[in-house]
């Protein structure tokens, strides 16, 4: 176990004020007022009602070095990652370690609230970083309401030094969840396709990274085209399509040992793979004699089950979070539209109507919405609809925004945006359900086909 939550006690703090001893086991009181209701309308303004949160560098009881990392430097870096996470959520206006004073170790549990009120901060994040006796780190994370002078969050993590970014994400998640009432999502990972080279001969490599672009790692070397990856729910495997040996086939890549195997042995092209929410099943599409249908197979292999059977193209698919239904796309009615079915293929029903075509449906982990790509007027836009096809809202507006993937809490969507023309490039973006908070994700090269996994355990 390289990452484990711990309860913060006096012993861990070492230099904490004596008053802490009585507080350690006390339940956290709910705040009297929280000003951060998630906005539900696309007309919302990003600037309004963003809670100001001061996030000074985390303190350290003594500057020590572990694995080449100094605890004081880490304190600043962790605060920066927390501030960046909260800023990216669109709900908060963080004052990061570059714009507020540093804190002392005793302040961690006894904040000088007047100082932070003077900076107009409604909340303040304090924390500490120290080494433990086994070459690891202990990171403490506290959130306070400056007006009430109350503690809202207290979390501690015992981690390997290389996991310090995860401690920052976990702290940001705790703050975000406490203040917004939403489930966490920062401490999660993304698989995607890194792109380089000219438009007519792109090099496409499987790559993985943290949800904020950190800890980036290339998986494949680019000799064979790689497309449409999906992280398994436990992050141990990635299904994706490789053009290895001039074939189009779905492989399961093992992240730990780098081996890969075919999802199924077939002379036909297999593509568009998707995991079931429990990771035991994989959907894939297969073209037989030119006609594509959707199949389901155990992640361990075995006999595939054919789910669709008609002359149209049936492709893609995404399980509902309860694992009972599948949303997919089909052109059986003419152009691409979105359909749902039971996981045995029964009860196939079209749910998307109205103008344009609808493609790449992805069921929200919350179950309440389906994200999709709307094609019309020469543009692709990312939108959401309910599982019955109602309440369509388009969240983006560009030349080509394609292939939405959900944050673990179902509040944010990542997708890729392509620009037109000879020099057209693709890049990764994310947008929240208001459609207002739109951001580009940093990647070392161009990017496409993002696949966002669940919150890490």
């Amino acid at each position: 176990m390289t990452f484990r939550p711990i309860s913060l006690s006096l012993a861990l703090l070492l230099t904490a004020a004596p008053v802490l001893a009585q507080e350690t086991a006390a339940p956290v009181a709910p705040p009297a007022t929280v000003q951060t209701e998630p906005r539900e309308t696309i007309e919302g303004q990003l600037s309004q009602e963003r809670t100001v949160i001061a996030i000074p560098a985390l303190a350290t009881p003594a500057v020590t070095t572990v694995a080449g990392l100094r605890t004081d430097s880490l304190g600043r870096q962790i605060a920066e990652v927390i501030a960046a996470d909260l800023e990216r959520s669109g709900l908060y206006a963080p004052l990061g370690p570059g714009s507020v004073r540093a804190i002392t170790m005793p302040e961690v549990t006894a904040p000088r609230f007047a100082d932070w009120q003077a900076r107009n901060a409604e909340n303040v994040v304090h924390g500490f970083v120290r080494t433990n006796s086994t070459g690891g780190l202990i990171v403490g994370c506290y959130l306070y309401d400056t007006q009430l002078g109350s503690e809202l969050v207290r979390q501690g993590f015992e981690i390997q030094p290389g996991d310090w970014r995860r401690a920052a994400h976990k702290c940001a998640d705790a703050i975000y969840s406490r203040l917004s009432g939403e489930a966490p999502f920062f401490d999660s990972r993304v698989a995607y396709i890194a792109e380089s080279g000219p438009k007519g001969n792109r090099i496409k490599r499987l790559a993985i990274m943290d949800s904020d672009g950190g800890n980036h790692r290339f998986i494949t070397n680019g000799q064979a085209l790689a497309i449409s990856p999906r992280f398994s729910p436990d992050y141990k495997k990635i299904v994706y399509v490789s053009y290895l040996n001039n074939r189009v086939r779905v492989f399961i890549y093992d992240v730990a040992n780098g081996s890969q195997k075919l999802v199924t042995e077939s002379g036909n092209a297999t593509f568009a793979p998707r995991w079931s929410p429990d990771g035991t099943q994989i959907l894939y599409s297969m073209a037989v004699g030119g006609n594509t249908d959707i199949y389901r197979i155990s992640a361990n292999g075995g006999t595939p089950v054919r789910l669709t059977n008609n002359a149209g193209i049936d492709v893609g698919g995404s399980f509902s979070p309860d694992g009972k239904k599948i949303v997919f796309e089909s052109d059986r009615s003419g152009g691409q539209q979105i359909y749902t079915m039971n996981i045995d293929g029964s009860n196939q029903q079209r749910i998307s109507f109205g103008g344009g075509r609808a493609a790449t449906p992805e069921w929200s982990p919350r179950g309440d919405l389906i994200a999709f790509t709307r094609m019309g007027g020469g543009e692709f836009r990312v939108g959401v609809m309910t599982p019955s096809g109602g309440g369509v809202r388009l969240l983006t507006n560009s030349w080509q925004d394609e292939a939405p993937t959900w944050s673990p809490n179902g509040r944010v969507i990542q997708f890729f945006r392509t620009s037109p023309g000879r020099e057209g490039k693709s890049s990764l973006w994310q947008v929240d359900l208001t459609g207002v908070n739109l951001r580009r994700l940093p990647t070392p090269q161009d990017g496409s086909d993002p696949s966002w996994g669940p919150v890490l355990p």
Binding site: P198, K199, G200, N201, R202, K204, L225, I227, S228, Y243, N246, R247, V248, A269, F271, A272, S285, A287, G289, G290, N291, T292, I313, V315, G316, E329, D331, G335, Q336, A359, T360, T373, M375, G378, F380, Q400, E402, A403, T418, P420, G421, R422, G424, S448, D449
Partner: protein, 169 residues
């Protein structure tokens, strides 16, 4: 010949469905893209019989073109494929790769399925002309390997294609 009848019928039906919808064939052929097997026209010197160079030099075109979201083989495509089938009859040991492609105005997975339709439509027509389908391997590149890199009607017309490539041994 069940295959032949079926193919002809599908072609007739889809052509009917398309109606007056104008296709396609670009005025100028695109430059050969890298990495998908195209090697460009023959120089006329030292051409190995049965090679990709030989193929290019002796067929009317190595590719056929499709309308937007279409995969029917029309009269013009048939003439192209007939010239390819004649060459394939003269070179019975040669196997070919039929690449299906789509323009960039479709989503990725769907375009792979669409490229499969196009490559198989060309394969089926060659088979209807007597070419052993076992000599024809199909692969769809979807929108991954555009022959023309612009984002306009002319480029898209060049990219909605099925390209026959000799599998060199």
């Amino acid at each position: 010949m069940t295959i032949r009848k079926t193919t002809a019928m599908i072609a007739a039906i889809t052509m009917l469905a398309v109606g007056a919808c104008s296709k396609k064939a670009p005025d100028t052929l695109p430059p050969a893209p890298e990495g998908t097997g195209d090697t460009g026209p023959s120089t006329g010197t030292g051409v190995v019989p049965g090679s990709q160079q030989d193929f290019i030099a002796n067929v009317s075109s190595d590719r056929i073109f499709f309308g937007f979201d279409q995969y029917n083989v029309d009269a013009e495509d048939q003439a192209t494929l007939q010239s390819q089938s004649q060459w394939l009859q003269r070179n019975p040991a040669v196997r070919v790769l039929l690449e299906g492609h789509a323009d960039e105005r479709g989503t990725r997975d769907y375009n792979i399925a669409l490229g499969e339709r196009r490559a198989n439509a060309a394969k089926n027509y060659l088979a209807s002309l007597g070419i052993d389908p076992n000599r024809i391997q199909v692969i769809s590149y979807g929108k991954e390997r555009p022959a023309a890199v612009g984002s306009n009607e002319e480029a898209w017309a060049q990219n909605r294609r099925a390209v026959t490539v000799v599998i060199e041994r």
